[in-house]
Amino acid sequence: MDVPAELRYTEEHEWVDARSEAVRVGITEYAQDQLGDVVFVDLPEPGTSLTAGDVFGEVESTKSVSELFAPIDGEIIVSNAAVADAPELINSDPYGEGWLVEIMPAEPADVGALLDADAYQKLIEG
């Protein structure tokens, strides 16, 4: 399973790209593989305020429903409209076109507390 070194991760199998001011969030390759074909995504409106751990959306596959959890405190800047129209992008390109939202962190330093690629790799290897 691909776990890009430049990203940060959560225990709920989300990735966070903190290389820009507003951080981009998606689900990992491992998560999409566990879900199977994604057929529906429910994402929040821009302007939604989140506290880390809040449920901010849902990803549905044919067999299951998974909630999305805010990785950090912040505000939704943009939701990926392309993925709402074509949820299969989450399967085909989870770290690229299958991104979900961009969040403006309330506290940019919070991202540093997330898992790094090595720690996440260990998590999914159990």
Binding site: D33, G36, D37, V39, F40, D42, E58, E60, T62, K63, V65, P87, N91
Partner: protein
């Protein structure tokens, strides 16, 4: 500890994702379950169903024993044909739904759901006691491979000289496929033409590989249990544990026609089922269709059109891969079961408008 399929190694080579199903470790999908679903509708899919149970009933009294044990008239089934039936409790509750093949005058093969094999084997043995019949659970002696989809006959023809034209729907024959002697049946659970091949576990990997090779030019894909579930749902076929359970009779499920009161002699559940057949059930199984992409799922509450009163519960649901909109089956109050009735489903706090529709959702 889960039981591996006789095809476990083949599935691992194919990179399958596995699921625990009634104590068995079975492939849930190989790649994309939507692609596997589509392959079965448009070309063909190859399924491992080795978890299903096979129980043999033999002897001069086999037909009479089955007529007493099951709600259907198995004695009227001709040799070489098969029949869908149910095993009911004394109170009419459904213990399992079954396909029974009559292999010879005095030999039947009863195919049970994996989760119910022990219940079925025990019930059949107990109910057959006063008949001149033997009941033997042969589940571990059979692997079961299904080829389903419009191209399945072409695929079988490439590896067998069997007279497929003469093999009707719900019929079976002894055949040689890819050099392997097996029981070939024209049955399935997908709503498509297709075949089920009962062979020895030892020969299953060779058979699977031969069918894979023969199927390649015909668009055959290995298909897992995820696609099997969406295929049977589109075809409006009930799944034990969802649409069927010991808490309800065949009449609530709209399958009262499988109960053959006119057959000779007593059968287990006759009294309770007779009484039930003369009343209107309080709740009935219906088909629901919605809009959008959000699927009702098993256990979700069905509410009235006002979104208030709880009128029932979803038993199975999915975004239909073939139709592109949400479909479901549900038990609801009988007064609301008419086709066209508008209802809502509570999808995790959001209400999804649905309409009662006719089964099946999809017909080939």
């Amino acid at each position: 500890m889960t039981i591996p399929s006789p095809l476990d190694e083949v599935h691992r080579e194919l990179g399958a994702a596995f699921t625990d199903f009634a104590g068995w470790s079975m492939p849930v999908r190989y790649g994309s379950e939507l692609a596997e679903h589509r392959a079965v509708r448009e070309a063909a899919g190859l399924f491992d169903l080795s978890h299903m149970g096979e129980i043999e009933v033999t002897g001069p009294g086999a037909a009479a024993a089955l007529n007493y044990a099951l709600v259907g008239n198995l004695a009227s089934v001709k040799v070489g044909r098969a029949r869908y039936s149910m095993l009911c409790a004394e109170d009419g509750g459904v213990l399992d739904d079954l396909v029974t093949y009559r292999l010879a005058d005095e030999r039947f093969l009863v195919v049970a759901n994996a989760a119910n094999v022990d219940v079925v084997a025990r019930a059949l043995a107990g109910r057959a006691e006063k008949f001149d019949a033997q009941v033997t659970d042969r589940s571990r002696e059979f692997a079961l491979i299904a080829v389903q989809g419009p191209n399945s006959a072409d695929i079988l023809r490439a590896v067998s000289d069997a007279d497929l034209g003469g093999l009707k729907y719900y019929a079976s024959m002894e055949a040689t496929v890819a050099g392997i002697d097996l029981l070939l049946a024209r049955t399935g659970y997908t709503g498509e033409d297709g075949f089920e091949l009962y062979c020895s576990p030892e020969q299953a990997p060779a058979l699977w590989r031969a069918l894979t090779e023969a199927g390649e030019p015909h668009g055959l894909l290995p298909a897992g249990l995820a696609s099997r579930d969406t295929l049977r749902l589109e075809a409006g076929m009930p799944l034990y544990g969802h649409e069927l359970s010991s808490g309800m009779t065949p009449f609530e499920a709209g399958l009262g026609r499988v109960v053959k009161f006119e057959k000779e002699g007593d059968f287990v559940g006759r009294k309770a089922l007779q009484a039930r057949s003369e009343q209107s059930p309080e709740r009935v199984l219906v088909a629901l269709a919605g809009e959008g992409r959000r699927a009702p799922r098993a256990g979700y509450a069905v509410l009235g059109p006002d979104g208030e009163r709880n009128v029932g519960e979803i038993t199975s649901g999915a975004l239909s891969p073939t139709l592109g909109y949400p479909i479901a089956m549900a038990y609801i109050s009988a007064g609301l079961s008419e086709t066209g009735t508008a209802l809502t489903v509570d999808v995790r706090g959001k209400s999804l408008p649905v309409t009662v529709t006719a089964l099946p959702f999809y017909q080939r």
